[in-house]
Symmetry: C2
Subunit: 223 residues, 2 copies
Amino acid sequence: MATHELSTSGASSTGKSSEDRETRARLLYAAARLFAERGYARVTVRDICKKARANVAAVNYHFGGKDGLYRAVMRHAMETMQATTEAAREAGRDLPAADRIRAYVSVFAERLLGVHHETWIHQLMLRELSDPTPALTMVAEEVLKPRMVYLSSAIAELLHCAPDDPKVLRCALSVTSQFNSLLWTKGVAKLLDAEDGVPGSVDEIAEHIAQFSLGGMSGVKSR
Amino acid sequence: MATHELSTSGASSTGKSSEDRETRARLLYAAARLFAERGYARVTVRDICKKARANVAAVNYHFGGKDGLYRAVMRHAMETMQATTEAAREAGRDLPAADRIRAYVSVFAERLLGVHHETWIHQLMLRELSDPTPALTMVAEEVLKPRMVYLSSAIAELLHCAPDDPKVLRCALSVTSQFNSLLWTKGVAKLLDAEDGVPGSVDEIAEHIAQFSLGGMSGVKSR
DNA sequence: TGCCCATTCAAACAAATGTTTAATACAATT
DNA sequence: AATTGTATTAAACATTTGTTTGAATGGGCA
């Protein structure tokens, strides 16, 4: 179980850059997509290896087991999500609170729905939330918490109240929950009536969430 | 796989009301809670039978297999959710659009968080959304769709536009997504900072969601 | 060339899991 | 009392699944 623990960098002693970490990278890629699509329990190592065109033993060799592979995938996902949080923070720098929230929403909509981004990462994260693995604690501490802290500061400024006011947390959850729905509605909305997820382009969706959220907080403020 | 298909009513030919459908009911109850807690794949029939104090073969005898048991659980859950939709509809009868939405939010908050209701049902449903099984199609058609249709009518009235306007669907998703977050935040919020899920009593949470949603739609309307 | 090392591969293993089977118990009916 | 049909049970079965093993491969280097 813990024999091959520090295999993150794998076999990087001798730099055979061509085929060396080729299979390792393929395994990571295949596993990421499968874990995001079906969840940890519904994916077998044989599925992963088949998709990655690798031998069954490759997972244990490179990652020490299925758990280690999942953790490696999660590490990559967490780094990307932290970068997303940082991008949102940067996009709103020196802006008033309402515009900081607009920037936050815009960045997240682009990363969650934009064609150029790895959308599987966010699906994997959402899955980790609704179906916790031992990695959840780490995710909550290093990804979710900074994100909520930043969002809460803007919301508190908007509501003219302290950042630890219960209203702030409730509003922050109301804002972020709309992004979660963007992900799972992808698979459901087509069963309802929409042809392909939430209707509209990425910009339209971002515009909607920003307007809805700002209006919502205005409604909460003027109770 | 399909040997015991119509075993919903099970062995009800002779009415031995004492111990007859006792194990069957215990299996249903135990399976419902376990499926809601861990999801289909992470629950074994041995887990269910142990919790229900039944033999391993009992699942196959009464439900024809793990699949049949899950379907039976889903049937029960769907009936309860349809009743919830109907209760929300009834609570808002003959009320103006804004009050219909307030009533809708109030009913759902009570059923999702109230101590007297079977909260596991909604957790199971949310899990079905993020982790679809073959039962999803049925759920979407018979539960989600009527719910969205009703909610959309009120929203369309509020926004002064047609019910099939993309704005309406986006707003409906923004409203319902806040309820989804109520469920999964139960397991996460305590890792962030809140002590026990979203802060506040059931009424306070319902009040927040109503204000946030109505304010949000007001913001969308006055673009 | 010959040795060393990381990597890959087919095969096998042990544990877990959904399902089946045959026997038994029990209550109602004939 | 004998029979019938349902329910329960322990044991076994067949598959799946994560992991391990030992041999083979192939490139770099003395």
